[in-house]
């Protein structure tokens, strides 16, 4: 049986950053990464960006070379999936029957695209986008596709519609909700996004679902709930993400939607940590347990988990955000953007303009914000979250787009 001091499950940005951090701090400690995908670290964000879909685009995504791992003395088990954990014996079982014994374990397995299921959705030409092989298949299909349907309003649909238009593919977007990205954006923010999509020739159909995918072996179209048919030779479903946690059942590791972890990213087992999209962690700034799927969060959590695995006791303290640019507009998410019933919301921005924001408030403090075309306010909003700014008495200022947020931040 292979034995390592540090075992990392997941070869994405969180796991790889953790390995790098551990190696910098414990040169003698043996490290191994188990990665489901048969590739060295690449930038997952690039999979839904124009650059990847250009000829030679695949060359632009790599963040580590295949020989980096050996050079850094990091074991790299490619194309292997962890299928079982014995937290008492400290052993992880892999899909090839191999077992790896660890002293300290990091789980950074990220999340998977939620499978979109409708009658006929197993036909060829139905895609989701999460891993490199998904993106390669989509890129190949886009070379010949004429008409495509995107399912769901979110980052993936927004970015993929933008790319499809670059290929001159006729795009229709199907939303179950009454507006784009309901309820994460407010109606005014969504109107800016919908306007940008429409201006680029993307047709959006709201308040409906696909009741059937039609065709033979290949997709030929979709039938909507109201019986109408849309012809298409490609469907891309972006209906959210889920974490694959089945392999941990029975291990005693506590999990909800993600793996539960404290502010040090420690799980309920003393020698097991969780980082990145899979971690449902105690965020000291937001003062809540939260699961965040963004690049900055994954990268920084990998670093913090790595430090703590070599014996430090450093809490994760960062307000993270993600922005995307497409169709000439930007969309940014900061912190926790869920408009749950325990929060109040303040909309910001000139109603007639294309720059809009919504601020999410919980227990009198800002926990998140969504911004449309407001990158200049990104760091100010992050700062207001970080300093636990007390909203009370400032509601009108936050709602007024002419009010300079900087004045709310003490120098």
């Amino acid at each position: 049986m292979q034995k390592v001091k540090y075992l990392i499950i997941g070869g994405g940005i969180a796991g790889t950053t953790a390995a790098e951090t551990i190696h910098q701090n414990d040169r003698a400690g043996s490290i191994a990464i188990v990665s489901e995908e048969p590739y060295p670290l690449y930038s997952r964000i690039m999979l839904s960006k124009h650059n990847f879909y250009l000829p030679e685009g695949e060359n632009k995504i790599w963040l580590k070379t295949p020989d980096w791992y050996a050079k850094e003395n990091i074991g790299f088990l490619l194309g292997r999936t962890a299928i079982g954990l014995d937290a008492n014996k400290k052993i992880v079982r892999l899909d090839n029957g191999e077992e790896v014994e660890y002293e300290k374990l990091l789980i950074a397995t990220g999340s998977c695209a939620r499978k979109w299921i409708a009658p006929g959705s197993d036909k060829k030409g139905v895609f989701s986008l999460r891993v490199l092989d998904d993106a390669k298949a989509i890129k190949e299909k886009m070379k010949t596709a004429k008409k495509a349907v995107a399912i769901g309003g979110g980052f993936i649909s927004f970015e993929i519609c933008d790319i499809a238009r670059q290929f001159d593919i006729d795009m229709t977007l199907i939303l179950r909700e009454s507006y784009y990205w309901e309820p994460i954006l407010d109606k005014n923010e969504a109107a800016v996004v919908e306007g940008a999509l429409a201006a680029s020739g993307v047709k959006t159909i709201k308040n409906t679902e696909v009741s059937e995918v039609v065709g033979g072996e290949l997709v030929e179209g979709v039938i909507l709930k109201n019986g109408s048919r849309i012809d298409c030779d490609m469907i891309i479903a972006g209906v959210g993400v889920v974490c694959a946690l089945d392999w941990l059942s029975g291990s005693g590791l506590k999990a909800n939607r993600g793996i539960l972890a404290n502010e040090y990213l420690e799980t309920n087992f003393p020698d097991i940590w969780a980082a990145g999209d899979v971690a449902e962690f105690d965020d000291l700034i937001l003062e809540e347990r939260v699961q965040l799927g963004n690049w900055l969060n994954a990268r920084q959590q990998g670093r913090i988990a790595g430090l703590n695995m070599v014996g430090e006791k450093t809490p994760f303290l960062l307000v993270t955000s993600y922005s995307t640019a497409g169709f000439g507009i930007t969309i940014s998410f900061i912190g926790d953007v869920r408009p749950s019933t325990d929060r109040t919301m303040i909309s910001r921005g000139d109603p007639g303009s294309k720059s809009r924001a919504r601020i999410i408030i919980k227990d009198g403090e800002i926990v998140g914000a969504t911004l449309i075309n407001l990158i200049p306010e990104l760091h100010l909003m992050s700062k207001l979250i970080e300093i636990n700014f007390k909203v009370s008495g400032h509601e009108n200022e936050l709602a007024d787009h002419k009010f300079d947020l900087k004045t709310l931040i003490q120098p």
């Binding site: 690049w295 955000s321 922005s323 760091h379």
Partner: protein, 85 residues
Amino acid sequence: MPGKKEYIRNKKGSNISKIIIDRDLCIGAASCVATSPQTYKLDDENKAVVIDDNAASDEELILAAQSCPTKAIIIIDKSGKQIYP
């Protein structure tokens, strides 16, 4: 405006002499803006530009470069050596 844009840094005591942004790689994810808001902003094309090359510490500049999901930020030290990526 494609290509690479260079920014010279003269900050006293700093080991960094130059920040280079590869505009072809930049995707406007704004991780650099989030990490070092005094250094970066996004321009009208939603590409990162340097607004103040001397504002941040070396450590913050490296962190901001490392945070970029497309390695679009290149950091050069005083001896002309590329120190990131």
